[in-house]
Amino acid sequence: MEIHNRDQTKRELLKDFPGEVHEVGSTNIVVTAMDSIINWSHANSLWPLTIGTSCYAIEMMATGASRHDWERFGTEVARSAPRQADLIVIAGTIVNKMALVLKRLYDQIADSKYVIAMGACAISRGPFYYNTYSVVNGADHVNPVQTA
């Protein structure tokens, strides 16, 4: 088995990469420490926006309720104002008329923001895949989706 050195591996990996790669100096311990703190705070304090379009909204509410209780993970303070939320859970089908609203809500959320598409309808129309004239073909056609 041929042993590649680090540069060789990198070159191979970047063979098909269309952009340019600039080498940076050694990574800074302070920056990475800060980064991990920031990531930790983002991960543990996701405030969802209260929006649910259809059936999945009930399941989302159930996630917040006593038995499942997502507050345990810090996802408690469901904000109704998009400015203060971090997370949109797209719970339900998105139709053409709602797509504009959803896009606007996404834009109104202050950075850093995350999107979860929950359920088959939001991801790829689900049961409304054909013969419907008004359903959007998955929420990622409206705004970026981190997790589906």
């Binding site: 053409n96 008329k97 054909y130 013969n131 419907t132 004239y133 008004s134 359903v135």
Partner: protein, 152 residues
């Protein structure tokens, strides 16, 4: 009121009405021009008193359109289905019944939105579900959506 009596009652207002019993309800098909008068008559007469309109919808047939009214009387407990036959598919028009039953206002907006049937004298006839700039009436049988709807 029994169905036979009801039939005579409707015939006395609209002589050209046609009757049919299907699905447990008596259907009376009347020309669209006579519908409003008949509905008003049935709603206000003491012996019929159809005060509860529980379903209003449109149907798109190949050569005509119908608006279907499911009526019930909460005092007498009898039912009737009125069908208004609109001959023109290109330019369907009928009088509104929202002055008789308030619920008709929303239902007629829905029928207008999805079938394009225009209800004369309706207080606020706009699209209800679809965007205002939507082209076409999707529940019509000849509605074409090449992208989403599979034609076999």
């Amino acid at each position: 009121m029994e169905q036979e009596q009801l039939k005579e009652r409707i015939l006395s207002v609209v002589p050209e009405a046609e009757f049919e019993i299907t699905g447990g309800y008596m259907n009376a098909t009347v020309p669209s021009a006579k519908l409003h008068d008949l509905a008003k008559n049935l709603r206000e007469s003491e012996d019929t008193l159809f005060d509860y309109l529980f379903c209003l919808t449109g149907v798109d047939w190949p050569d005509h359109m119908t608006v279907v009214y499911h009526l019930k009387s909460t005092t007498h407990g009898h039912n009737v289905v009125l069908k208004a036959k609109i001959d023109s598919r290109e330019n369907p028009e009928i009088d509104t019944v929202s002055d008789i039953w308030q619920t008709a206002e929303f239902h007629e907006r829905e029928v207008f939105d999805l079938f394009g049937i225009i209800f004369r004298n309706h207080p606020d006839l706009r699209r209800i579900f679809l965007d205002d700039d939507w082209v076409g009436y999707p529940l019509r049988k000849d509605y074409v959506d090449k992208v989403n709807i599979i034609e076999l």
